[in-house]
């Protein structure tokens, strides 16, 4: 009898010890989920390979190319011909010459066509990461980097910019496809994640350097630089929607919606992603 009591006692002591151990382990586990990823990103951010794309983009901006053998240095990104600093945090915006709201990539398509004589199809028909798409990725990396640390401040004065915002909002909540998904399914609530990736709530400003203020970004898993166009293209793929056309109105409208919502968020682009 006494032995049995002793046994129970020992078992209880062991259980207590185990319980403590488990509690400690779960506390560690919680830390390693969010903090661990942040730590990993901080380690990699020191040598973000997006810098390699930035260097290439700057060279491409100044290099005479295309049938007209001209550089992009006279390209107007919204702040006047050749002004790059600060342009990124105000895109997409209305451009009077094309009478369209354009994001960075569609604007670059215009500049490449008018200044350099490069047909837009050379970019829009090329697969991501190949041919002229590579030029686009490098240019987007450099142009966004020139506005690093500035705050998102998209204009909404022109009626077309307001119309694009409304269109983007519609597209954001539009459910469809075989899984009946919309953008809002994943990005319409705060505190959600897919596997270990936190999902930004894109209905509001998700914070500095998060969501719209984090792209373009270098993807470590694939070793590629993704522009916002590619990001959206992949979002549509994940929703099992048909692929949107490159620089099409729906992608620009979503850019306006996310960018206007992110007003005041600090841009850290090009950032580093898993």
């Amino acid at each position: 009898m006494q032995a049995s009591v002793l046994k129970t006692g020992t078992a209880a002591a062991i259980a207590a010890a185990l319980g403590l151990g488990l509690a400690a382990a779960s506390a560690l586990g919680q830390k390693s989920t969010a903090d661990g990823i942040a730590e990993y990103r901080a380690m990699l951010a020191d040598g973000n390979p997006a810098e390699l794309f930035e260097a290439r983009g700057e060279a491409l901006w100044k290099e005479p190319r295309g049938p007209k053998n001209a550089s992009l240095e006279r390209c107007d990104l919204g702040l006047g011909p050749g002004v790059v600093k600060g342009a990124w945090v105000q895109l997409p915006r209305w451009f009077p010459d094309t009478k369209r709201v354009q994001d960075l990539e569609s604007r670059l398509l215009t500049c490449m066509e008018t200044l350099q004589g490069i047909a837009p199809e050379e970019v829009t028909k090329a697969p991501f990461g190949k041919g002229e798409q590579k030029s686009m990725e490098a240019l987007a990396a450099w142009i966004s980097a020139e506005s690093r640390g500035q705050r998102m401040n998209l204009p909404q004065a022109h009626p077309e910019e307001k119309r694009m915002y409304a269109l983007g909002q519609k597209a954001f909540y539009f459910r469809g496809g075989p899984m009946d998904f919309s953008c809002a399914t994943c990005h319409g609530e705060s505190g959600k994640r897919i596997r270990l990736q936190d999902l930004p709530d894109l209905r509001t400003n998700p914070g500095d350097g998060i969501g719209f203020a984090a792209w373009p970004a270098y993807r470590v898993s694939s070793g590629e630089l993704w522009t916002m166009q590619r990001r959206l293209n992949d979002c549509y793929r994940q929703q099992r929607f048909p692929y949107p056309g490159y620089a099409s109105d729906v992608t620009i409208a979503l850019g306006v919606f996310m960018g206007v919502n992110a007003k005041g968020a600090e841009s850290v682009a090009p950032s580093l992603k898993r």
Partner: protein, 103 residues
Amino acid sequence: MADPMRIRAQSSGNAATVRVLMSHEMETGLRKDANGVAIPAWHIREVSAALNGKTVMTAQWGPSISKNPFLQFNIKGAKAGDKVSITWVDNKGDRRTDEAVVS
């Protein structure tokens, strides 16, 4: 011609921390393309670092190093104003040397 490296070298105390970003595909030779054909190996084989022309480190690399690799190391005795040069050679014989000044 390969893209230039990004080299930063910063002195702290009696050593300098060197950070290098290299632009390279680093194909392992094990991947296959869309048609099922193996993509030939293409990666950096050797990296060397020199301080004012004198080799201070060599490294043998292989296919397990990531694409666009990042390398960080310290050089003892390097002072501000010293020149650090990094060279890589890949398995196709392509090479690239870039230089930075310790700040």
